[in-house]
Symmetry: C2
Subunit: 261 residues, 2 copies
DNA sequence: CATTAGGTTCCATTTATCGAAACCAAGTTT
DNA sequence: AAACTTGGTTTCGATAAATGGAACCTAATG
């Protein structure tokens, strides 16, 4: 499945299977599910356990994801994503609009949520961070896709399933038809295309070179499209502010030079 | 470094190096830092980028952690850790005691924080989840170590650095000397052994079979030891409640059988 | 223009991976 | 209780893959 990339690729594939299983898995389940011959699968699992990417419960013989992943993710989140530096801007956006705010990046053709603020129920947090969603029918997803250069867009589109979640969900053609407008307006709408009753307004976070870094959105549960439309300005401003901070962050590039030697 | 575990182990090692670098790294930095010959390192990095465990900024040629890790961690956190089911108990504990509450697990000899609640400043959250700390001088760490069976304890101890953070920090002998008392009392103290002024009271989360699943703690910044001592009961109760929930969670074992075919 | 530092590709050698089959340990069935 | 499953672990020769020294590209830099 996908690009095996040698042993490492296979190991990651197995890891992914365990993850998508959603709970403790036995050896036999993974074996039947396809892919790898017994001995191979066995060794791959052993390596993954050794690396603490998986855990095995000696008693039941079931495999689970290892918490080492949580540690790595913490580092990824805090040093490689927009999240930490976007946080203050998101808080401002949430406060001004009073709506739920999302920050997302593209990952393998999907939208991956890196932060979420919900003025209504302040403590939820992590349950949302790391979650993924479809790119073709969410505000953040559409905002990012519309600004992707040809090749990258093609690659991203090839990974979309275009499942029809609601009557308003777009297909490939419909999605592409919107791109020009999104680029012109600088914002993307999700008008109940993913979940009935849920409307989002999103803006892309673009680097000065025009590269897509991520996207922010505000969400309304009541469906009030006009309500969100009134905030178009601040949504775009927030995305812009994040982009500016991101650029400023890169340039000084704290000198790692004089560390060695 | 450590157990190479074939190609996968090396790849993980490289990933870890990028992570511990704390920011964008160039190829040459990783190369000089040791370990792998040019061509090998090059190919390892390529594979990691393909797998989206790393990102490379084409412009600067620097490597960073990939957000795919965040997605995997979300799944690990929500399906393989105590965190989701512990949350309500932690909230209760935080509310009753008014202190900062931590939930942790052991990972590779270190303490890994899986959740944190801070009544004072409610929005901090993720910045703490995934963070690691020393096992030998934190409340949660000591609580877990004391209940580890011989072999596992030995392995964990061998990974401790026993750096002396404060005048109160214990060495190996001092740590072991406390174990009996911790087992008897069911709680472990960190009396400013990690950070001056910070005191913790922790209790281990143990399965019915006595296996160490994790630990919870309450923290006082003022140093008020008596203040925390008054909450000994509820800290132990919270750990117990989490353990009970964890046991209940495993047994029903939602039948995955009738999914295939 | 020459030199160097930083990356990328080649290719013969070595090594780890592959996977069929044998094996083992518990349960089940007859 | 003997025969038969079911689920997991180990062996081992053939095979494919990772290895790494060296050659090879670029840009920058002197």
């Amino acid at each position: 499945m996908a690009a095996p990339d040698g042993t490492v690729g296979k190991a990651m594939d197995v890891l992914e299977r365990v993850a998508s299983y959603g709970g403790p898995v036995r050896f036999a389940d993974l074996l039947s599910e396809g892919g790898y011959p017994k001995a191979t699968l066995y060794r791959l699992l052993q390596v993954l356990v050794n690396q603490r990417l998986l855990t095995i419960d000696r008693a039941t013989g079931k495999y689970e994801l290892g918490v080492r992943l949580v540690r790595l993710a913490h580092q990824a989140w805090s040093q490689a994503s927009l999240a930490p530096l976007a946080r203050p801007h998101l808080e401002h956006l949430a406060q001004v609009t009073g709506q739920a705010v999302h920050l997302a990046q593209l990952d393998g053709g999907q939208v991956l949520y890196l932060d979420k603020l919900n003025p209504a129920q302040p403590v939820e947090m992590f349950s949302a961070i790391g979650r993924v969603g479809p790119a073709y029918c969410t505000g953040v997803g559409k905002a990012m896709l519309a600004f992707l250069p040809g090749e990258a867009l093609e690659s991203a589109l090839s990974q979309q399933s275009f499942h029809r979640f609601t009557p308003a969900t777009l297909d490939r053609a419909g999605l592409l038809a919107e791109h020009e407008a999104i680029r012109r307006e600088g914002v993307a709408w999700d008008r109940q295309e993913h979940e009935p009753g849920i409307t989002c307004l999103a803006a892309p976070v673009l680097s000065d070179a025009g590269r897509v870094l991520g996207a922010v959105s505000i969400t309304s549960a009541g469906g009030g499209e006009a309500l969100l439309a009134a905030h178009t300005g601040i949504v775009k401003d927030t995305a812009g502010a994040i982009a500016r901070d991101a650029a400023a962050w890169r340039f000084p590039e704290q000198s790692k030079l004089n560390v060695a030697e």
